[in-house]
């Protein structure tokens, strides 16, 4: 201490900003930050000037004018008289729909393929390797187009379902697979449906309680409850009873052949199916690899120790391997979910009306607001990605190794 204070205090000189190691890194950072700001300012200024030269301004008022076009797949009602903002919302919901369903299906297939690739059965393991390599090494767009081509070229037209035609409905005449999509029965909710749904929700809560109780009991006494059978019973019995007690409020509307097309029922469009399947299959290959590496990351000693304690292979997987593997699996899984969501913008290729096709496609085209539209689209994908990754990070903090 005394040693330091003995030195005469150096006075600060400007040249020290450059030659003194204590200040140099700061100087460099400040200069770099200034240059970046300058560059960004130039970029914005440049864009505004150029747009002005073209006689265009930057304005978002187009969002409140009439869209004028129709959208086939709508989760919320939409007509051509609604605004561009609402059209964007319809597209956003379509993006979210395919992204959520895609993430679910991709995870299910991916976990299966990943686990099976480690199978001791030579054939199963090879088939899975083949699947994963095929999917991973071909562009996604090709898969989307392949599935779409199969769906439109290899399936019958609605008019082939007419009397004497070559096609027929399946599943007791309730489902029609056509080149315009798959028509399935649609539930009609009459008065009293709410009660049935309430029972369903209560049963699901009940199942969680049951699992908690069963776990506690096992930890305390070592006795196991038949959780699966009890859960299934809880899921089915009360809802069924309520359904009949209220007088069967939920009925199904079956698709029927009308003038040009099937009418009634629910149309699952080919564009949606193609995009959903292709996104799921493609991403599942990456998830399979993540799952496989996660499982392999758990040391073999863990399995051996579990076996030594007399654990069954499936319980070893469930209780020992998977919880540890999840720590390795979750972080890369997040980025796969993000990829899938962003890749859904390839929807354009098959005419699926997602946010890219409505806001970033038709709206931009009809209004000539390229910059504004694409900017909004970018912000939408950014926000969605941030929400997905924070949700997954939240889940990850639950499963990750807690160091004490």
């Amino acid at each position: 201490m005394a040693d330091i204070s003995d030195h005469p205090r150096e006075t600060f000189r400007i040249s020290m900003l450059l030659y003194d190691a204590r200040y140099r890194s700061l100087t460099i950072q400040v200069v770099a930050a200034m240059l970046i700001m300058l560059f960004l300012a130039q970029l914005v200024d440049n864009t505004v000037t150029n747009l002005a030269v073209l006689g265009k301004d930057i304005s978002f008022s187009f969002l409140w004018s009439t869209a004028g076009y129709d959208i086939n797949q709508q989760i919320i009602p939409f007509t051509s008289q609604d605004t561009h903002a609402r059209a964007a919302l319809v597209g956003i919901l379509n993006t979210l729909l395919v992204a959520v369903l895609g993430c679910i299906l991709a995870t299910v297939i991916g976990v299966f393929a990943g686990v099976l690739r480690l199978s001791k059965n030579w054939l199963v393991a090879r088939v899975m390797t083949f699947y994963v390599e095929c999917m991973r090494n071909t562009p996604l767009l090709i898969w989307i187009l392949i599935v779409f081509a199969v769906m439109t070229e290899a399936t019958p037209q609605p008019r082939d379902f007419r009397e004497g035609g070559t096609a027929a409905m399946v599943f007791a005449d309730s489902v029609a697979v056509t080149n315009r999509g798959v028509f399935i029965p649609r539930p009609i909710w009459a008065d009293g449906s709410g009660i049935v749904v309430a029972f369903l929700i209560l049963s699901i809560i009940g199942i969680f309680v049951l699992r908690y109780v069963a776990r506690k009991r096992q930890e305390d006494t070592g006795q196991q409850l038949p959780v699966l059978r009890l859960s299934l019973a809880m899921l089915i019995v009360p809802v069924t009873l309520a359904f009949f007690a209220v007088g069967r409020p939920i009925t199904l509307e079956y698709p029927e052949l009308g003038g040009f097309n099937f009418e009634g029922g629910l149309q699952v469009r080919n564009s949606f199916i193609a995009l959903w399947l292709a996104l799921s299959l493609y991403t599942s290959a990456f998830i399979a690899e993540i799952v496989r590496s996660g499982i392999l990351a758990v040391s073999k000693g863990q399995t051996e120790a579990a076996f030594a304690l007399g654990m069954q292979p499936n319980r070893t997987m469930q209780l020992i391997i998977l919880p540890q593997a999840l720590r390795v699996i979750i972080p890369p899984l997040i980025s796969q979910f993000l990829n899938l969501t962003k890749n859904s913008s390839l929807a354009l290729a098959v005419g699926y009306m997602d946010a890219r096709s409505t806001l970033g496609g038709i709206t931009v085209n009809q209004t000539g607001r390229e910059l504004e539209g694409i900017l909004l689209l970018g912000i939408f994908y950014l926000i969605t990605s941030l929400i997905i990754s924070s949700a997954m990070n939240f889940y990850n903090s639950g499963v990750k190794l807690k160091e004490r």
Binding site: L35, L38, F39, Q42, L43, N46, T47, T49, N50, V53, L54, G55, K56, G68, Y69, D70, I71, N72, T79, S80, Q81, T152, E153, Q157, R159, N179, R180, G258, G259, F260, N261, E263, N270, L348, A349, G351, M353, S357, G361, I362, N365, Q366, T367, G368, E370
Partner: protein, 339 residues
């Protein structure tokens, strides 16, 4: 210091590259070729032939403009554009002129900052259905599935028409005419709708064109013509008067065959003389050679010849002149006075 200079230089370079130069004429002359935004392939209007040479009704207009400016109808670089990308490409300066079945509308003319100097085809939107469907009028299309090209006036007209008539439909958006054709032929949509000229051109490429009918209803006005960027009036003038030269030449009987002869010496018709540059100085007024119109007409002849050769009744597309006949024959084609 050097870094700042570098960034500054970069920004300036970006600025100059970004601005679509106002003087398109100088650009074209300096480049030695015309960049013409065209269809990705629509038989009769714009499509490459077996040797990769572009040909068609719209292509001929591109070649005529190139001949007017550069004296060579072959000095054209065709840039195929989809209906979604065409106006952005034009605004960004990727093409000098857009001749791609584009409808002149209020919004495009004003808000999109484009100009449509002339109309080269008066069209309207129609519907095509397979004959087997037994439909004879668009009013019977309730519940039909309709293929439409996105980014077009077509999709807006379609929404208006069905709403005004209180009938429903299921739109199937497609990006290109080729995609629409494939979907329609696969039966994924009952109806294909676009400009009637486009329907006729598309049908002409079918294996069995006779199995498809174009319904009688015309649901919109589609004045199709070349488009340029708003603000470059000198260039707009060249495109306008090249188109008018083609139309006026038909009216005055100047054809590909006789243009050289008529241009050799002044004739009795002063209008023809001014058009062909044997009298007056019209060419110099728009920055072109005196014989610019001679070069224009030497490429593929006048408007009527171009029409007949590419989309007329003797071709597979088989369109009648209809609205596109000369005004003297009751049509709307009215070449401006050359004086």
């Amino acid at each position: 210091m050097t870094k700042t200079v570098f960034i500054g230089a970069l920004a300036v370079a970006g600025l100059t590259a970004g601005i679509a130069s106002a003087a398109t004429l100088d650009d074209v002359k300096a480049r030695g070729s015309l960049k013409c935004g065209s269809n990705e392939g629509l038989a009769g209007f714009a499509a490459p032939d077996a040797n990769g040479n572009w040909e068609g009704f719209d292509v001929s207009l591109c070649r005529a403009i190139a001949a007017a400016v550069l004296g060579d109808g072959q000095a054209v670089e065709f840039v195929p554009l989809t209906s979604q990308t065409r106006f952005t490409a034009l605004a960004a300066g990727e093409v000098d002129v857009l001749v791609r079945n584009s409808t002149w509308t209020f919004t495009r003319d004003t808000d999109l900052a484009l100009d449509f100097p002339a109309i080269n085809y008066y069209d309207g939107q129609g519907f095509m259905v397979p004959r087997a469907l037994g439909v004879s009028s668009a009013a019977e299309l309730d519940g039909a599935t309709v293929c439409i090209q996105t980014g077009t006036t077509t999709e807006l007209n379609l929404a208006d028409y069905f709403r005004a008539n209180g009938i429903s439909y299921e739109p199937v958006p497609v990006a290109t005419n080729a995609e629409g054709q494939q979907q329609y032929l696969a039966g994924a949509c009952d109806v294909y709708t676009t400009d009637i000229s486009g329907l006729a051109a598309t049908r002409a490429t079918f294996e069995a064109p006779g199995d498809h009918v174009i319904l009688p209803e015309v649901v919109s006005k589609e004045p199709l013509g070349p488009a340029v960027r708003h603000g470059d009036n000198a260039w707009g003038d060249i495109v306008r008067w090249t188109t008018h030269a083609l139309v006026a030449a038909e009216e005055y009987g100047v054809t590909k065959a006789n243009v050289a002869e008529l241009a050799a010496a002044p004739t009795d018709n002063p209008e023809v003389n001014r058009l062909l540059g044997t009298e007056g100085e019209l060419g110099a007024m728009i920055g072109l050679d005196a014989d610019w119109a001679v070069k224009v007409l030497s490429v593929a002849g006048n408007y009527g010849e171009i029409f007949e050769a590419n989309i007329g009744e003797s071709t597979a597309v088989g369109l009648a002149r209809g609205l596109n006949a000369q005004w003297t024959d009751g049509g709307l084609m009215y070449g401006g006075p050359f004086r």
